[in-house]
Every structure is written in C-alpha cells, then in structure tokens.
Symmetry: C2
Subunit: 234 residues, 2 copies
DNA sequence: CGAGTTTTTGACATTTTTCAAGCGTGGTGG
DNA sequence: CCACCACGCTTGAAAAATGTCAAAAACTCG
C-alpha cells in the first residue's frame, strides 16, 4: 500500500517532501479512499473539516447558487489539494467525482498541526494554494474578458498542460470525461453555446472534443486564439 | 514607527501572530513604503520576487491581455497579502495604487525562509491564501453565473463587508475611489453597461454609487438580488 | 432492444457590447 | 477670471453575442 508521503513525493505539491516533513507515520499512513463515479465526496454547507488530496481520477469542485445554477470552481486533478478554509466554518463548495476517484482525506486540524510543526510542509501547502490562486485568476479572465471561443480554447489548453504534468496527456491528446454540461458550468455559458463553440473549433481544425477525448490539432493557432500562456501553471 | 509585526497583530492575516513568530527583529523591521495614487507598484511579467502586504489605501491587482483588455483580479485592502507565486518566475499580474498606498514589501525568499522556520507564520499565510481563494471563487461565480445586476450588487456588498472588517465602513456606507472603468474590469463587463446597471440599482433604491462613495439603501433586497452570503469572507 | 443521457440543430428572445455623442466638473494656463 | 481640456459619467440606437425553448439525432449501458 502506498502511503500519503510516498505519493506526495511523486506529485506536484509533494514533490520535494521527505518522510520527516510529516510528524509521524500514523499521520502519513492515511489510507486513500475510493469513490464511485458521480458520488458526492463533500457537500457545500456541511460542517465537516476535511481536506482532500486527489490521488487519481476526475472530480469537480462546484458551488450551487440559490436559483439552481451551478458554477464549477475547479477540476482538481492528481496531486491537487481541495478544501482549505481560512477559518473553521461550513464548506464553501461541493466536491463530486466524475470518474472513479481516489483521494486522501485528512482532517483539517491535523494538517494545520503538521504545518505548525513542520515548516517544509507549510511551504508546500503555500505553493499549492498559490498555484490554485493563479488558476482561479486565469479562469476569472476567461469568464470575464474572453469570448466564448477563446475561453473554451483556453480551458482545453489548460487541461492539456495540467494533465501532461502528471503524465496523463501526450501529443496533444487526452481523455476528458467532462460532459458539455460540465464544460458549460466551468466556462460560465450554456450547454447549447458550448456545443456550438466546440463545433466551430472542430470545423476550424483547431481542436476536437469528442466521445470523451480531446485532440489538439492546430496548437499554434489555438494558443493564439486562446491567448494562452502556460506560465501560470508552473 | 510601527513595525510589520505590530501591524499584523491588528489585521486579518496577522491577528494572532506574536513577535516570536518571526525569526528576528531585522526582518520584522521592514519599513512601509508609500506610493502616490495611480502608480505601478509591481508590473506583470517582471522578474521581481516580492510580496506586498497592504497597510492602507486602495489598490488593484490586474492582468493585461494581449488585445489590450484588462481583468482586475482583486482589490487588495488593508491587511491583504499580494504577489505569491508557486515558484519563482515572472509576476503574473500588475499591482497599481488607486489612492495613496502604503505597503510592506518583503522578498519572497525571505518570507519562505521564515515559513520554514516558523510554523505559525506558515499557518497564517496558508489561511490568508485560502481566504483569497474563496474570494476568487466567488468572483468566478459572479462573472460566470450571475446577471450584470446581481454581479454588481454582489461586489458592492463584498466591498462593504471587507471594509467593515478593517473599520472602513459603517452603516452601509463607505468610500470607494474606483471609477466605473475599474468596476467594469472587475466585473467583466463594459463601462457603459456598468453605468446602466448602477443607474438601475440607484433608481430601485437599493444602493447608490456616486462621487466616490457608496451607500447601501435597502440591504435586505440587495442581498437577495445578489445572492450574497458573507460566509466566504470569514 | 429500450431507456436514459448527451449531443446537435433551428428559430427566436434577451442581454450585453459597440459606436457615437453630449454633459458636468475640476484643473490649468493665458 | 475665463477658455479650454481631460476625464469620468450618462444616454441613445444599432449590432453582436449569448441565452432560451423545443425537438430530433446519436450514443451508452444494462
């Protein structure tokens, strides 16, 4: 069985952590939990202070609005941390699996304890949160200042970059189990419009999103349309 | 002269820090720098690894897009930290003052060093970043899933809440030096539309934004229209 | 095969942007 | 003191982008 620290050494947020960075083995020994596709891992407004670290699979972190709308905040991928809050309080967003999902679950309190006693862990978490910040800021530009086309192109390029960082994309090709409904709630548009936009991108031979997989066709032009610069994902 | 740690004890991110949380006094003695209104404090793409902590004044953190558009990522207020990056690399956004602005400037490297040796500082920074994350996520809902009206209302309520936390708002009233152009770049719409929307809000006796100050008139209804829940600002 | 989900398409409505112009105010130089 | 300019605010009319509603086609899974 792979322990949490073994995992973290291999992935973005834990890449340089040594065993000693964690207080003791018990804490490290957190076992990964496996969830079925389309299950709720944590629900918005629940008073359950747990942090998740994605080991494998696809998930969405979303917030439901009073009027029934939904905005997807992020699609956490392998190695991403989910669920930090500045203070105790209800969860601000729900986490749901898309595919089968494996996550490490750590009590928020325990993780904070560990940060207090181990500076290197604090640094790691700070870096991880800073990166999430950068991603959110970029999504803000997407929904705020880019056209439907540019937005969609940008997100597909972001996914490719993030996935290839964890070895899940190569040659501009990757699996993506998100539906067009999901895409709509990520990009802040309607499914109908997502559909038309994807169609345009496909017909223009830029990128194809079809049957759960994505293939970048003309990267140069796609990057140009999207105004994509991967710097923020470093 | 007020030192950085004296300041931090009094404001959100540093509220519970004691003197010992910082390695030594030299580091703490960082003097605050004062900038004139409308100056650039840090420029996007610069390779200058500095973190800013706002002591007083209004600022905007924005990112310029290739086509000349601009998206304002955040309006850092008293006590907010600006400029963290996951790794060294060019700055992702520019920081500019709106009013006269006083900021503490700390080298990124120094702060990371301090985190390594002082867990409580790490915790504070982690909390601050988690809060910023929550704010960005909420802005994402704003631009992604709310109408112009709801969005604008929401942002004005957020400002009120954030300002009253640092003693700069009371009775639903506060000073706000942002222009309608700024508002447009925050909310992801055009100035023209911002103008019309503010007009509507004013005519409906919900909130007035005029000559640099904001007055909430009918909070109950405004909160309802905005779908505002201050939980995320805690 | 059949039921449910997802994608695609068409016609039309609404929101938001664009372009263009006018107004008000505060500061500045003649 | 006044003319003038820069800047921000306001308004109107038309265009473009995006959303809504509705239905059909395609796909998926048991």
């Amino acid at each position: 069985m792979q322990t949490l620290w073994q995992f973290m050494r291999l992935h973005p947020i834990g890449a340089t952590l040594s065993k000693n960075d964690w207080g003791n083995d018990d804490f490290l020994g957190v076992t990964a939990k496996i969830y079925k596709p389309h299950s709720e891992i944590g629900r918005q407004d629940d008073d359950n202070h747990e942090i998740f670290i994605v080991k494998s699979g696809w998930a969405i972190l979303y917030h439901g609005l009073p009027d029934g709308e939904r905005q997807i905040i992020d699609t956490p991928l392998t190695g991403d941390i989910v669920g930090f809050r500045s203070v105790d309080g209800p969860r601000l967003a729900s986490l749901a699996s898309i595919t089968e999902l494996t996550v490490y679950e750590i009590s928020s309190k325990e993780l904070v304890e560990a940060i207090l006693s181990e500076g290197r862990l604090g640094k790691k978490i700070v870096c991880s949160l800073a990166r999430l910040n950068a991603i959110l800021a970029e999504h803000l530009m997407n929904t705020g200042r880019r056209t439907a086309m540019s937005r969609t192109a940008h997100f597909l390029l972001e996914l490719e970059e993030r996935l290839s960082m964890v070895g899940l994309s190569a040659h501009g090709r990757y699996e993506c189990p998100l539906t067009q409904y999901d895409l709509a709630d990520i990009l802040g548009m309607t499914t109908v419009h997502v559909n038309r936009t994807l169609g345009e991108l496909r017909r223009a031979d830029l990128v194809s999103f079809k049957a759960g997989h994505v293939q970048v066709i003309n990267r140069k032009k796609l990057v140009e349309i999207a105004g994509f610069d991967n710097e923020y994902l470093r």
